[in-house]
Subunit: 229 residues, 2 copies
DNA sequence: CGTATGGTTGAGGTAATTCAACCTGTGTGG
DNA sequence: CCACACAGGTTGAATTACCTCAACCATACG
């Protein structure tokens, strides 16, 4: 759909474009369009020319990298209001794939770059968002560092619980995993088997309850938090 | 020293401020000052109010995080032309420490923020730099993922060799490690002993030669590259 | 009903950690 | 000038956490 109706956008107050004045945003919206992607659909592929960028309005994306042996590593998850697409590199360096049905608000890179030039507030907002992403990436590095498999799985569960609940302060007690075992493994740098075993242990320990492959109920958030350390 | 003389700056063409016109930069330079830090000196400490930011003109910094047990993890190295300091978070979230004698070009955060508002080109340059940092952080995550200790040490050596040589294309054949074993371990998420053993193996394998604790000579860069995979 | 996909469970191997001793160079005080 | 302490580094032996490989189970779907 050509043109975007921001008034119905779920992230209109939190995405980068929220920095614009209503009139400015409307102008930008006319240059963009929205599109829905199904689970597993590739939005951007590594190596492509980067001529489009986007804001995620709903759903969940992964940014991932394939090493020479074809093993995937998920570098980051993108939550609603997140911005994807490189404004500076000529080519994309990572794949961006929908993990759940996702709605994006797409812009030609040239349009968006022009908007940045015209509206310093937009540049400012992107800078801010980018600092946040950098912080997240570094948090992930810190997590990778010393944590045992148990700690990695525990903190992933906590972070997914937090993302699942609308309230930013504490996580949902009951939610569905948006990732399958393989994706969890590839995000944490573990194997599928290890993830599965860790979940098993958390359940027998009375910390979580599983229902089906995807359903998670957090029974003892405090203890889960402890395992994170 | 109040005021900065950009004409003698080693990174005047590569740092963010290179985006400014000479006159604009000179104006910014008047608001800043330079300072030299010794190895081990803390430039910013986590938890501090963030009221200053800086460009590194020479030397090497580490950005590190201490977990609750007091274990350090180096999240990133900062090379000359790098920018440090968060413009958006109220507090610093990581420590920034000099690894070698380092010279920084410091600005009050408020001054720098004002400069960003006044000069969109500066915001643009920072955005670009920040995208680059994000990419590096993600490369580090990818590295953490599947790589054996050998691979981690090998790629660290290559990256340090690259940083040691002025030419960006291929690394120095002979250089001094700017980090001690503990720092290397903490950067790679390994133990000191493992790093030491890996270096030992690389030497007996004829891939590098060590002289003293810090000196490294790369004898077979191609083979080192292979171990990276 | 048979196949595919995703998930769990078990046995065995291995690389890195842990713990401990030892080495080496450097600086300090007697 | 030597003795000593100290920090950084190396080396060895034992342990362990995770991986690999393989079988098995559950659910969905044609």
């Amino acid at each position: 759909m050509r043109g975007i109706d921001c008034s119905v956008c779920a992230v209109r107050d939190s995405a980068a474009c929220a920095a614009l004045l209503p009139a400015e945003r409307q102008e930008l919206a006319r240059a963009g369009h929205t599109r829905t992607y199904q689970r597993g659909e590739t939005i951007f592929a590594a190596g492509d020319r980067q001529d489009v960028c986007a804001t995620l309005t709903s759903g969940l994306l992964k940014i991932s990298h394939f090493d020479e042996d074809g093993h995937e590593r998920i570098l980051s998850l993108v939550h609603p209001a997140g911005f994807v697409g490189e404004m500076f590199a000529p080519m994309l360096r990572h794949d961006v794939v929908a993990l759940t049905e996702s709605r994006l608000c797409l812009f030609a890179r040239s349009e968006y770059e022009a908007a940045i030039e015209r509206h310093p507030a937009l540049a400012h907002a992107l800078l801010r968002r980018s600092a946040e992403e950098l912080y997240d990436a570094r948090a992930q590095i810190a997590l990778d560092a010393k944590r045992s498999a148990t700690g990695k799985v525990a903190s992933l569960l906590l972070s997914l619980a937090r993302a699942a609940s609308r309230s930013s302060c504490h996580g949902a007690a009951l939610f569905d995993l948006p990732l399958n075992r393989g994706e969890m493994a590839t995000l944490l740098g573990l194997t599928i088997e290890t993830v599965s075993r860790q979940l098993g242990r958390l359940e027998t320990g009375g910390i979580i309850r599983r229902s089906g492959a995807r359903g998670i109920q957090v029974l003892d958030a405090a203890r889960l938090e402890d395992l994170t350390a």
